[in-house]
């Protein structure tokens, strides 16, 4: 199985290497390298999936990597139900996004085209390393590696200042999270003496609950960076500067879910720390709600989806935070389908409208681009939790899990957010695809995208509609499959079994919330009752606050960035370095100079003066001896 694992990772790596080294020669044919690479990887991933399904799992090392003293970190992989679930999702969605990219990026200059596919393959490589690693350090390689690719791809159009800034912001904010993550690893090593998953989880119970809490909170800090949760979510909306397939693959379907995967992978540690779990669930719920409110008023097609991603990631953290890890991972998978799909459709709209993103200028696109519109509606219906589409199943499992485990407030926030989600998604649909065209010129140029783009849309739409049924497959469905890994020795699974009757009621409530959201959006944006414009002016302060994203970016700049940069320049550099230290150094030199030039005057060259000096010195020495001798 090690060979297959290496093949899964190796093909995209090979693709990235070829396009990286020879991209200047391959140019517009880059996709002939990149797409087969990822497709082969997906095929091998599926093969591995079938093997795991048959009950074969694997843990093993490729070669020793960081070995010194009693530290032993290999390049090694772990294939179990959880990791195989991840890599199958990742490679499947990635393959279709690669194909879609052929159409989307066709206006790019040849060199940029090859660069794009190189990065895209490289991203998948790192994402697979992240999912397949059998130890925390190798996971960290993938973790930072996907961050690198995210940086490179957000800044793909680096001539644009906004893109360049967004890329840097993403990497730096992620590094803040990674700082916590690294300290978490140091603590694990200190108390367990290993960073291999198997060792750590086998010895997890030896860690005191207090220490487990600290460790897990630190790990979660890393997750808030990568998975864009409060307070480190700020980079994700800006990340929309990247090409849209990138937003779809990296900033919706795969990379941003790494935090959820990491927490689930570390469930043996989190289970020891109820407080940390509480924090995870609370942060998740808060983020889900907070981000959804920002999506309510935004007019930028991609930003709405970005806030929606932040919000949905919040749901996943609710899931893992309340202990239904499998539900969190399941939502990760369904979200990869429907949110990946919606970004691609948004890209299709952009592609047709030459980059226009302002929904207020769209309208009535349904007739012009029916496939795009319909697939989007499928995605939105899925996210809104309308049965029987994918989002309904996974979101429901999460919310039911929260309720059953006694997190009533979180359940309520989650359900209310589901209402908001349905509302903003259908607001987007009605503004974009329905009603009268609000900008004639834009409506003129709109056209359906080529098949190379629409086929991936259709595939993912079918997926968005159907993958939810995986929940009710035999042997406990997805949860039953994942719980081979995730529920080992944990009480949560049994608890979930009990609340059968309540679950049906919860399900009905969340479906009502979804429909209510759709209904309100239809009434406001199709019929104009109540009129969105007048609502906006009635609640102007709230509207402004939401529209400016709660001024969080400005706050961070005011609190952290400006003081740090200003302080470093004015205090550390201009004062400590230049005035204090160099002043002292140069001062010493100056004093030496003064003494020298002062003493120069006694070097008269007249022998008599020297004789007097010698005599005077002798006399003084004699006196001193008399006085102290």
């Amino acid at each position: 199985m090690l060979t297959s694992i290496c093949a899964v990772i190796g093909f995209p790596l090979l693709g990235a290497t070829i396009n990286g080294l020879f991209g200047w020669k391959i140019k517009r044919k880059a996709h002939w390298v990149a797409v087969p690479a990822i497709a082969l990887s997906a095929i091998f991933a599926l093969r591995l999936f079938s093997q795991v399904l048959a009950g074969h799992t694997f843990v093993g090392d490729l070669y020793p990597w960081l070995v010194i003293g009693k530290l032993h970190v290999p390049i090694g992989f772990q294939l179990d139900q959880l990791s195989v679930f991840m890599i199958t999702t990742v490679t499947f969605v990635a393959t279709w996004i690669h194909i879609y990219s052929i159409g989307y990026m066709d206006h790019e200059p040849p060199m940029g085209y090859a660069r794009y596919f190189c990065y895209l393959n490289m991203f998948v490589t790192f994402m697979l390393v992240l999912c397949l690693a059998n130890n925390y350090v190798l996971m960290f390689v993938g973790w930072e590696g996907v961050g690198l690719c995210s940086y490179l791809l957000i800044g793909y159009w680096y001539e644009k200042a906004s893109a360049a800034n967004a890329g840097m912001k993403a990497f730096v904010v992620n590094r803040i999270g990674d700082f916590g993550f690294m300290i978490g690893l140091f603590l694990i090593y200190k108390f367990v003496g290993s960073l291999q998953f198997n060792d750590v989880f086998a010895h997890a119970h030896e860690i005191t609950p207090a220490m487990a809490t600290i460790i897990t909170l630190l790990l979660f800090t890393g997750a808030t960076g990568k998975s864009a949760q409060i307070p480190l979510y700020v980079w994700l909306p800006d990340a929309m500067e990247g090409p849209t397939p990138v937003s779809s693959l990296i900033h919706a379907a795969t990379m941003v879910t790494a935090g959820v995967y990491m927490v689930s992978r570390s469930h043996a540690l989190f289970n020891l720390a109820p407080l940390s779990m509480e924090v995870v669930a609370t942060v998740g719920a808060a983020t889900a709600f907070f981000a959804a409110t920002m999506a309510l008023v935004n007019n930028d097609l991609k930003r709405v989806l970005a806030y929606s991603t932040v919000s949905q990631l919040g749901y996943m953290f609710i899931g893992v935070g309340v202990g239904v890890y499998a539900a969190g991972i399941f939502h990760l998978m369904t979200h990869a389908f429907f949110k990946g799909l919606m970004f691609l459709t948004a890209g299709s709209v952009m592609h047709a409208l030459h980059g226009e993103l302002d929904m207020q200028k769209m309208g009535g696109l349904l007739k012009k681009m029916p496939i795009t519109a319909i697939t989007f509606i499928v995605g939105a219906t899925a996210i809104a939790g309308i049965p029987p589409l994918a989002g309904f199943w996974s979101k429901d499992e999460i919310l039911a899990g929260a309720f059953v485990h006694g997190h009533k407030v979180i359940w309520f926030v989650g359900t209310f957010t589901a209402f908001l989600t349905a509302f903003y998604m259908f607001r987007l649909i009605f503004l974009t695809f329905f009603g009268e065209p609000r900008d004639e010129h834009i409506h003129e140029i709109a056209h359906e995208s080529p098949p190379v783009m629409t086929i991936p849309l259709i595939v993912l739409a079918i997926g968005s509609a159907l993958v939810g049924f995986a929940a009710i497959l035999p042997h406990g469905g997805v949860a039953g499959f994942l719980n081979h890994v995730l529920a080992s020795g944990h009480h949560v699974a049994e608890a979930a079994e009990e609340g059968g009757g309540v679950e049906h009621m919860l399900m009905i409530i969340s479906v009502i919330a979804g429909f209510a959201g759709v209904g309100l959006a239809a009434s406001m944006y199709l019929k104009g009752v109540p009129n969105p414009k007048t609502l906006g002016s009635t609640f102007k302060p709230i509207y402004t606050l939401l529209y400016h994203k709660y001024y969080v970016d400005e706050l961070y700049f005011f609190l952290f960035v400006n003081p740090l940069v200003g302080g470093s320049r004015q205090v550390l550099w201009k004062f400590v370095d230049v005035v204090l230290i160099d002043g002292t150094v140069n001062g010493v030199a100056k004093v030496c100079g003064w003494i020298g030039s002062g003493l120069r005057y006694i070097q008269t060259g007249v022998i008599a003066h020297y004789a007097i000096g010698i005599l005077g010195g002798a006399v003084i020495l004699y006196w001193l001896r008399l006085l102290f001798g």
Partner: protein, 524 residues
């Protein structure tokens, strides 16, 4: 593979052959001189490679040892040898010298003298890492100053005289104290053993009483701390770097700074374990201050070279943190950081030099959009940037992670502070990268910049390969270092491991080191 010729002497002095040849070449024939120097350095690199393969990675003792009488009356001998710690520094030196000379094609002024200085510098540098006799060490240590002084002072930028003098005086201030300490050590040893010797291993086995050892430690430490440079002795570095020619900066950052850290590992700490236990908190604090301070000051620089110079202060802080934390991971991390910093910062200086050759400015605001006009250059700069900020998978991560992980085991507080560097380094390097390479090209002079030529690409490929290699497979380095590192740790914290020594069989060299510590205890 075995080596049965005096390999260390060969590689130390081989550059002199090149010097002799260059002396005979007419100074007008600059290209012949350049190639002679480059080939000499390249041959020396090839000559040094057997060191790695012939080195016995299981042993902590000195290898390839050569001893010859030098000044018998003083007890000074020509005694050279390397262990797992100096091995890689020698290799780094021969490697970076080749690249530096190849990067010196843009030097037009006094090429002959320049290349001679450079080859002499190589002799002194290798000598420093190989010397096992204190007098010999001091000789090479001082000898290294002269060519470096000339490189900055003759071929440097506008403020070269100020920078060269500052560099020289700063270093001398430390060296003089070190000389005094060496002499004290020498006499101290004489009083006890009635034998005159400068031999490192003999001196190390001499017990040194508590108070004296503190003073001697500080004298050595000052000399090395200036070289590292540790905060607050670092202000010579930005000036020296900014004014030095490209190759000078590469060597300065890549090799000369390592002599400071090497000095701590080779002399300061094994000699005076008592002082180490006393002063560790101070040096750990200075290391951490250096890490954060260097990074923050780097962030706000307007000059690319100065930014990289301050980042060195930060990186070397991590190195010192690892070394003073004294456990296998942290010291290995510190050692790796020494090599990695040589590669990544060396690469950055080379790259800065390449664009300086084209535009004759290093001010960040003069650039922007360079990725568009010089894509190959931008790619290499990107790799060097991520190597420098410790992206996992590249070399920088190995050193940084091990150093911090190790430091955390003994000094969690310092390690947490030190780990903030991971955030700050991303800030200053990516901000730099953004301002230089991204955005539109605004300055018209940048619009027709030529991308790297073949020679430059060859240089960068050579330096990038080890970045990936160390990042992906550092084991060959780590495993060869490990015994020497363990010995060093045992020596530097002799007081704590003494008990173990009685229970377990330890290598002979270690027992010698421990014996000194035991009798010290008896005297106190």
């Amino acid at each position: 593979m075995t080596v049965n010729y005096p390999i260390l002497t060969t590689i130390t002095f081989f550059p002199l052959v090149g010097v002799a040849v260059i002396l005979m070449i007419n100074k007008e024939k600059v290209n012949v001189i350049r190639w002679t120097a480059a080939i000499t350095a390249a041959i020396n690199l090839v000559l040094s490679i057997p060191l790695y393969f012939a080195f016995n990675g299981k042993s902590a003792s000195m290898q390839f040892v050569e001893t010859h009488k030098w000044i018998p009356a003083l007890g000074a001998s020509y005694h050279v040898g390397i262990d797992g710690i100096s091995l890689f520094l020698v290799l780094l030196t021969t490697f970076l010298t080749v690249l530096s000379i190849m990067a010196s094609w843009s030097i037009e002024k006094r090429v002959k003298e320049y290349m001679i200085s450079f080859l002499l510098l190589e002799v002194a540098m290798i000598g420093v890492f190989c010397a096992l006799d204190m007098l010999l060490f001091y000789l090479f240590w001082e000898a290294m100053l002269v060519p470096m002084f000339l490189l900055i002072g003759v071929w440097g930028g506008p403020r070269r005289i100020y920078a060269a003098v500052k560099f020289f005086l700063y270093t001398m201030a430390g060296s003089v104290l070190m000389l005094a300490a060496i002499i004290t050590l020498y006499y101290h040893h004489f009083q006890i053993s009635h034998k005159l010797t400068f031999d490192l291993l003999s001196l190390m086995s001499t017990p040194i009483t508590g108070k004296l050892s503190l003073f001697l430690f500080l004298a050595f430490a000052l000399a090395f701390a200036i070289k590292v440079p540790m905060f607050p002795f670092h202000t010579w570095l930005p000036d020296a770097h900014v004014e030095a020619p490209t190759a000078g900066s590469v060597i300065l950052a890549g090799v000369l700074l390592k002599m400071g850290t090497y000095g701590f590992v080779r002399f300061c700490m094994p000699f005076f374990p008592f002082a180490v236990s006393k002063f560790a908190p101070i040096f750990l604090s200075l290391a951490v201050i250096g890490i954060i301070y260097g990074a923050l000051v780097a962030m706000v620089q307007d000059d690319i070279k100065k930014l990289v110079a301050y980042s060195s202060v930060s990186h070397l802080g991590t190195c010192m943190l690892g070394i003073f934390a004294l456990n296998a991971q942290s010291v290995a991390g510190g050692m790796m950081q020494m090599i990695n910093h040589g590669l990544s910062t060396g690469a950055l200086f080379l790259l800065v030099g390449m664009i300086y050759d084209r535009r004759h400015t290093r001010l960040i605001k003069e650039y922007g959009g360079i990725a568009k006009v010089m894509p190959i250059y931008a790619t290499f700069f990107m790799i060097a940037t991520f190597s420098s900020i410790g992206l996992p998978g590249l070399n920088g991560f190995i050193g940084e992670f091990l150093a911090l992980l190790g430091a955390f085991q003994t000094y969690p507080f310092f390690a947490i502070l030190g780990a903030t560097a991971t955030v700050f380094s991303a800030c200053y390097m990516l901000w730099l990268y953004k301002r230089v390479f991204f955005h539109e090209v605004t300055v018209s002079a940048n619009k027709k910049l030529k991308d790297l030529n073949l020679r430059e690409i060859a240089i960068m490929v050579m330096i990038v390969i080890p970045m990936f290699w160390i990042g992906l497979y550092p084991k060959p380095l780590l495993s060869k270092m490990e015994p020497s590192i363990n010995l060093f740790i045992a020596q530097a914290k002799a007081a704590q491991v003494r008990k173990v020594a009685h229970e377990e069989k330890l290598p002979k060299a270690l027992q010698v080191a421990l014996k000194g510590e035991i009798s010290e205890k008896g005297e106190m």
